[in-house]
Subunit: 210 residues, 2 copies
């Protein structure tokens, strides 16, 4: 059950550098992430899967030295579109058409409407919107990693501009937004591993209306 | 498996108004949502669970008339903190302390550091950051609903200011960010129900580095 997976996981502070996540588990996590729903199905982001040790060492330096960047075996970098453009929306339209028997008039009208709503609205607004969609995928990826009993550490504590430079993201019109090292918890030395999981009081978090 | 749940779900366009989601399934979805990780564990949002039919009718009017608002039995409104304040961060500090044997010096220092980083950074920046955290919880809630075989329709197509007024969110320092009706798909009349699920090409979505 999902609830058991979520209770198993925690934001791992110390990964075991000797253990790599098998590729079939990485594939399962990516398959789930790809199925995450997004606004109008645009999936306005790309995911970099970084395994190269030298590049992960650079990413660590751009992440306040957090060791999970090098002790995990795979680092997922979620990079959101810097803007919605007609070209990008047309690309998704064509992919959708390919999956649904052709770009029908209905499909065409749907994406024309999206373009008239999104394109030119301002890159800042569009980037923030795209970033939120990446966070839905992050939530699903975290659940998937836990189901696979793969440890994961969602991270915002990094320098996005440095990441963008290291990974060549700006040339692709992408901005890094959140990072997810995947690996296995170390046997010892993780201050958070034995702490009780704490969440906010449901009486505060949830309100019933009606 | 999560992947099966995600393949089962779709953004339901027509719900069956005769069928209500049992409260034990709502509880399971909320339990999972509450376990979603968030930046520094702040969980900077609240969730309104709206069942009152008259209020759902008002929400429908503020959602371009989308019928799921009234045909679903429960509507989750995700409302993010409008800013990070010292009071809010202290509240989470005290809750964390209560769950971990008291507000130790280490815990105190952790939240003091958060306050010095977040408070006064600007409400707009802080709200956007809080909204992203709510989207992680949305991703987990979607997975949880699918596991419970409860249909769900994530929605951004609504008037946040109208929602805030209907639900009294501004008085609580909250802004509505995304909506999730929960119910059961209708037997007929949903144009999307029989469409193949389309997602972007993994060769575009994913890039290997290393």
């Amino acid at each position: 059950m999902l609830i058991d997976h979520l209770n198993w996981r925690y934001a791992t502070k110390k990964m075991n550098p000797e253990k790599s996540v098998p590729e079939d588990k990485i594939a399962a996590i990516l398959d789930a992430l790809r199925l995450a729903p997004t606004s109008s199905g645009l999936q306005p982001f790309e995911i970099m899967i970084v395994t190269d040790p030298a590049i992960r060492a650079e990413l660590k330096d751009a992440s306040y030295g957090q060791a999970q960047l090098v002790d995990a075996s795979h680092v997922l970098v979620f990079a959101a579109w810097d803007d919605y453009t007609a070209e990008r929306i047309d690309m998704v339209r064509d992919e959708t058409g390919a999956g649904r028997g052709g770009v029908t008039d209905q499909i065409k009208a749907y994406y024309e409407n999206l373009k008239s709503n999104y394109v030119g609205r301002g890159a800042d607004v569009n980037f923030e919107h795209a970033a939120r969609q990446a966070y839905i995928a992050l939530g699903v990826a975290l659940a998937a990693a836990a189901e696979q009993r793969v440890d994961a550490t969602p991270m915002e504590g990094f320098d996005p501009k440095a990441y963008d430079a290291i990974l060549g993201l700006r040339e692709k019109g992408l901005n890094s937004v959140v990072v997810l090292p995947l690996g296995y918890r170390a046997d010892a030395g993780d201050w958070l591993a034995d702490q009780p999981k704490v969440r906010r009081d449901p009486a505060i978090l949830f309100s019933r209306v009606g």
